[in-house]
Symmetry: C2
Subunit: 761 residues, 2 copies
């Protein structure tokens, strides 16, 4: 095994000093000369026809330079695939949820903009609204989009194998239904954009997970060529899936800049974040599973009804991936899936760490415990018996290469003291386990799954590294820089990362599907190798030695067996340019060797590799009040290779705490489509005070395709947390909670209402 | 001859709409959040020791965040070659001219900064000063730099052939002395810089002709690694050589940003432009020339004494190039040259369009007319007899490849009606001719002479083109974009130029020595060819046709002999990425195949090609007042190929008008080292009202090495103007003016004092 000098070490993020000192520039920090502030008027009604908008008074406010409505736009819809386009940059004709963007103003300051907003008169004709997918699917329900008369906008149907045969061959069959809630991303940084329009070209600084995708949405809806739009992602304070698409901030800033000829900045308020960004799709998940007496899974039939809210957003992809994830973690030959993406007059569901897989896995991992309970087996053993192995091809066409799920399960069992603690409850203590798989990229929407990079060593030994990839707060700039430093053989501090700008000679599809380390990492590695190869080729010629004998490590070049030949990397680059007239710039392009998922069948090896994880949660329940305290979460992650163990721990901690929020507390509450808790005072996310002890362990399976063997880890970490907690609560209380969030009130009521009354008083 | 679709057409600058509408962003337009304004305190004395600086009161001014002096710096000198380093970012120990930077402040606004400047107390101990190079060279003169006790900082001595033999073989020998003045660049945009320091890295926006060179100077004097400095050149309003180096605006903005942690902007006032930037070196040029009775030149011995002002700046290079230019235009086997770069307490001489060659050519082209007069020959014929030809190697080692000097001379003679008009003077009308050669790059300071580019076609057919080259107002971005568009086969409007940013994966040594079209043009062409080759290679495979049969023109790809195969460029790029997973980015690096000039001997083929030009000026002199009116200048330029004939005309017009200013009006006037005319009211540059009819003609010799055959043209255009005017004045008045500028007063005095009195009264 090779010995590495940069990767594999606990490495603080290279941008950490900037961030903690406040030097780092986020989109909100961008100020341009003559810049205006934009604000957005939002619908107060969940469903209404827009009869007229009177903007004259608003336009007359001193300091207001432009007021725009849907009438000022191209009225071009956008969204996921062209067949799913259903949303406008500004509402046209109708509003479909409380918070939808109806108009926008640009003014010299926020006060003038706010005053103008208050003077825009919108004549609404209110329409009947519907807020639950079940009601929305009923005959006679209000029709939200004419194109979907039954309000079902997308309904994937997958069937791999033959479930009827599978059930027939099963000893037992059980069906359970689970319910998940609306979770809000709660990025610390709100949605923000600054647009500048000059010389027929638009520049947009935006807090986005995908500058290239945003450029595409903008081009479509604004009517400029993609190449005449430049999207730049500044430093970012979180995305979690909530910044995957074009938002009204992007669209309105761009349009207002084009209208006024001046730069325009729009920053969402925290309330707008809650009511008008995206949320995790609430789902009702019914799983029917057939299995043998020894715990072997035979067949699975699953229905998912998702509350899509008023628009598709990434819903179709999420409903597809929810189905796909039924067949990828456990060996199971027969799987059927029916998904329903249902329009309601609620805020819009969108991408969120876990992307549909998370909800289904909550259901499936809860049911695995129910099955274990029924069979009198240890939940760990039921899992170990069924998990996929390296070499498998799943019923859904996934080709399993590196696979450490068994090691993950065994690791968390060992580290948590699983066998000692299970079923030893006293005073409401319990322990639960759950596991997951995840993609390291997902080829579903595009026929390609690519990233590219450039590596330009400077003559002083520093290295400019250009990547299309977007660090959205997860620290990928550092991880990618480590890969470049390792591959080139220089110190990490020498790497200058220049990232996420669509006019930079590189590309990347975005930070989603846990793809950055894998896809952008491979591109970065190739670019670095290309630069090194150019350098070594010339050195080999100059020194008359075979190129393969040359190596570089921590900035020192040496030749195997030739102690007389050595040179610093900096000096070598400088000499190459200055003496030999060779300018080194390495380029690397990587297209993941995966398959386009057939969206009609859900079949296909959609990712170049699969990561795995397992978690054990330990909980303590106050049997009088129902209050749940999570004491510890032990996590193991088959990350392929831990490029940066510290970043891996950070991902584990962030994702697990977010998973605990989902398990126990977070929920968008609404009444008549209005969000009733749109502030951090009322919508409770876990703070450091609620965070348990988190211990996370990398399982390094060294993937054959990943950069230095690495796989994606970001999203997977959040997937097993909620079911592990639910399973621990069952261990602690004997009560099976099938609905999220499991708040203290829920626990208290359950304790109170169960036979015998328990301790709850 | 190939037929081109983009190059060779009169093409308005692609950025012209932005510029004329005011949308274009210059350095002065950059505003950053929290940005401070910096101002510089300048020496009121021409030569003084700085005993102490008291900055306490200045620092206490409300709104002032920092005051810096030489004591706050690394005290690291910088300049041309390391052996010529003599200047500080802020004066250390001494000031050597009126206007030298002594301290700088950063404050929240200009008013606070100005108030602080007025409160800085500098204790000077005045030293004796010297203002003429002749006096400075005398024994006992004040010593300005300890390292140069005789005030001669650089004294090149070249001798090619054997002048004594040459003079012995001559029929006639004559010696003349010429004097040139201090000309100021007068860029419409003053020197300006904005610095930002964050995360240990410095970003500097600066109006500079060479971001890479500026980065080097900054790294040296500020103490950061070059790779941790990013220099960006925004849109620029002129350079003309005056923005070749680091200025106090750059250095002080950087240091103040580092001190305060906030961005700092410094913009020079027009007065600072006049007293504290750079100026064209005043020179006293004595040429002794031996020649045969038929006009054949035999030998030349030349001495140049240049007033270098207080520091070297580019003086050593200019003195070398002044000498080199003695042997490159005319065939002359024996040349000797002695140059003196002399320190005085005047403002600093630096690079200026023509770079020393201009002054020497004024002398030499004037003397050519004196020789013609003496021999009774037509000045045109003397020139035609002696000019170099393709295939020559000059005494100084220049290898002449493409050469259109004869065609240039014949063209201007024909177009001006030379033979009809010469010696036909009435009422003081006259006609004069002069010619020039010029480099298309100059390998003198660096061992390489390089540029690189990247070309990234977008999937909509637009093309992002990255070049290190700096458009300083001459329109090179358009010229380079034309080259890329032609080579790729797309429309010019599809090219997005991204230029002159040191953190962009490309490099370029700067806009000087008329090198941009040649060097950066070749790099751009190679990058475009590389991108096209990647595209065609895949199409050839897909279509099973030989790659060489594929071509692209104006965005349409076709295959020779296969009418069934065609595709738009945009679609081809999109399909390549989306269907075949191929990301196209072309890279091009060009290192001019020239030789490093040996600075001790001046010998070497320093440029990859030489351009040529000739001009005929027609003047009318008011014999009563001495007022000179230039009626017309006819110019021909061997540009190799006119990539953009309109830009060529623009270069001709700008340079010729600047040459007329030098010939007739411009002069920095000083008293005791103080500039007495530091405003446009007193320092007269020609306006459109003074501009003559200018007709310029390209002579296309299609250079074998230049991109599409093009050579550099920028500087050469200014070289023959002043001697052509002086020669025309001789034709008009019979008076030989050997000193510039030839103001109306000078003409009037000469007319008045000559024998017979003439018309001057």
């Amino acid at each position: 095994m090779a010995h590495y000098s940069v990767i594999g070490r606990r490495t603080p993020r290279t941008d950490a000093p900037e961030i903690v000192t406040g030097e780092a520039k986020y989109t909100v920090d961008i100020v341009l000369p003559g810049m205006l502030r934009g604000r957005i008027l939002r619908s107060p009604l969940p469903h209404a026809r827009i009869a007229a908008i009177h903007a004259e008074k608003a336009g007359a406010v001193r300091g207001v330079l432009a007021v725009i409505t849907g009438a000022d736009t191209l009225k071009q819809k956008y969204g996921y695939r062209a067949s799913n386009y259903d949303e406008y940059g500004l509402a046209v004709g109708k509003v479909r949820y409380v918070g939808e963007q109806v108009a926008a103003v640009a003014a010299v300051d926020e006060d003038a903009a706010e005053e103008a907003l208050s003077l825009i008169e919108v004549e609404y004709e209110e329409l009947p609204a519907v807020f639950s997918p079940e009601e929305a699917m009923r005959e006679g329900a209000p029709v939200i989009h004419d194109e979907a008369p039954n309000n079902v906008s997308y309904a994937p149907r997958f069937h791999w194998g033959n479930v009827e045969e599978g059930f027939a061959a099963s000893d037992c069959v059980r069906e359970d239904t689970f319910v998940t809630q609306a979770q809000i991303h709660c990025s610390m940084e709100p949605h923000a954009a600054v647009a500048e329009f000059a010389g027929g070209r638009l520049t947009l600084w935006s807090t986005t997970q995908g500058p290239y995708a945003l450029r595409k949405d903008l081009a479509l809806t604004i009517g400029l060529a993609e190449g005449n739009i430049r999207v730049i992602k500044p430093r970012m304070g979180g995305g979690f899936g909530g910044k995957r698409e074009m938002f009204a901030s992007d669209f309105c800033a761009a349009l207002l800049a084009m209208k006024t000829g001046r730069p325009v900045k729009i920053v969402y308020s925290r309330t707008e974040e809650f009511i008008a960004s995206r949320q995790r799709h609430p789902m009702v998940i019914t799983i029917r599973t057939g299995y043998a007496k020894d715990g072997t899974l035979r067949a699975k039939d699953c229905t998912v009804i998702a509350d899509g809210g008023a628009y598709n957003s990434r819903g179709p992809g999420i409903l597809s991936y929810a189905g796909a994830s039924l067949a990828s973690l456990y060996r199971i030959p027969h799987v059927r899936y029916a998904g329903y993406h249902v329009y309601t007059n609620n805020p819009v569901g969108g991408a969120f760490r876990g992307y549909g897989s998370l909800q289904v896995r909550f259901a499936d991992e809860s049911q695995m415990d129910l099955i274990a309970e029924e069979l009198g087996m240890d939940p760990l053993d039921v899992r170990l018996k069924n998990v996929v192995e390296s070499g498998d091809t799943t019923a859904s066409g996934k080709k399993i290469t590196s696979c450490g799920i068994k090691e993950c399960l065994l690791k968390v069992a060992e580290e948590s003291g699983w066998h000692q603690k299970r079923r030893k409850k006293q005073y409401g203590r319990g322990i639960g386990i759950a596991c997951n798989d995840y993609v390291s990229a997902l080829r579903s929407l595009y026929e390609y799954d690519s990233s590219s990079a450039l590596v330009r060593p400077n003559e002083d030994g520093t290295v400019d590294f250009f990547t299309g990839a977007s660090d959205i707060g997860q620290g990928s700039d550092t991880t990618l820089a480590q890969i470049v430093a390792e591959e080139l053989g220089v110190l990490l501090e020498k790497i200058n990362v220049v990232a996420a700008d669509t006019r930079m000679g590189v590309m990347d599809l975005g930070s989603y599907a846990s793809r950055v380390t894998f896809v952008a990492g491979n591109a970065a590695k190739k670019a670095a190798a290309d630069a090194r190869q150019q350098l070594f080729q010339h050195l080999a010629r100059r020194w008359s030695v075979p190129q393969e004998k040359i190596s570089c490590r921590e900035g020192a070049i040496s030749v195997r067996g030739r102690d007389d030949l050595f040179l610093s990397f900096a000096e070598a680059i400088a000499q190459l340019l200055r003496k030999e007239g060779v300018f080194v710039v390495g380029r690397g392009y990587y297209d993941a060797p995966s398959e386009m998922v057939d969206y009609r069948t859900g079949y296909g090896n959609s990712s170049p590799a699969y990561s795995y994880g397992a978690q054990v949660a330990e909980v303590e329940v106050d049997m009088k009040t129902g209050q749940v305290k999570v004491l510890q979460v032990v996590a193991a992650s088959d990350c392929g290779r831990a490029i940066n163990p510290m970043a891996l721990e950070g991902q584990a901690e962030g994702a697990i705490v977010c998973g605990l929020g989902m398990a126990l507390a977070e929920d968008r509450l609404s009444e008549g489509g209005r969000t009733m808790n749109p502030t951090f005072l009322e919508y409770k996310v876990p703070t450091s005070g609620e965070a348990p002890v988190i211990r996370s362990y990398p399982i390094e399976t060294i993937d054959p395709e990943g950069p230095f063997g690495a796989k994606g880890v970001c999203e997977g970490f959040q997937v097993p947390t909620a079911p592990a907690v639910a399973n621990a609560l069952f261990d602690a209380t004997g009560i099976r909670f099938t609905e999220l969030p499991i708040t203290s009130e829920v626990v208290w009521r359950a304790l109170k209402s169960r036979k015998g009354g328990g301790d709850a008083s």
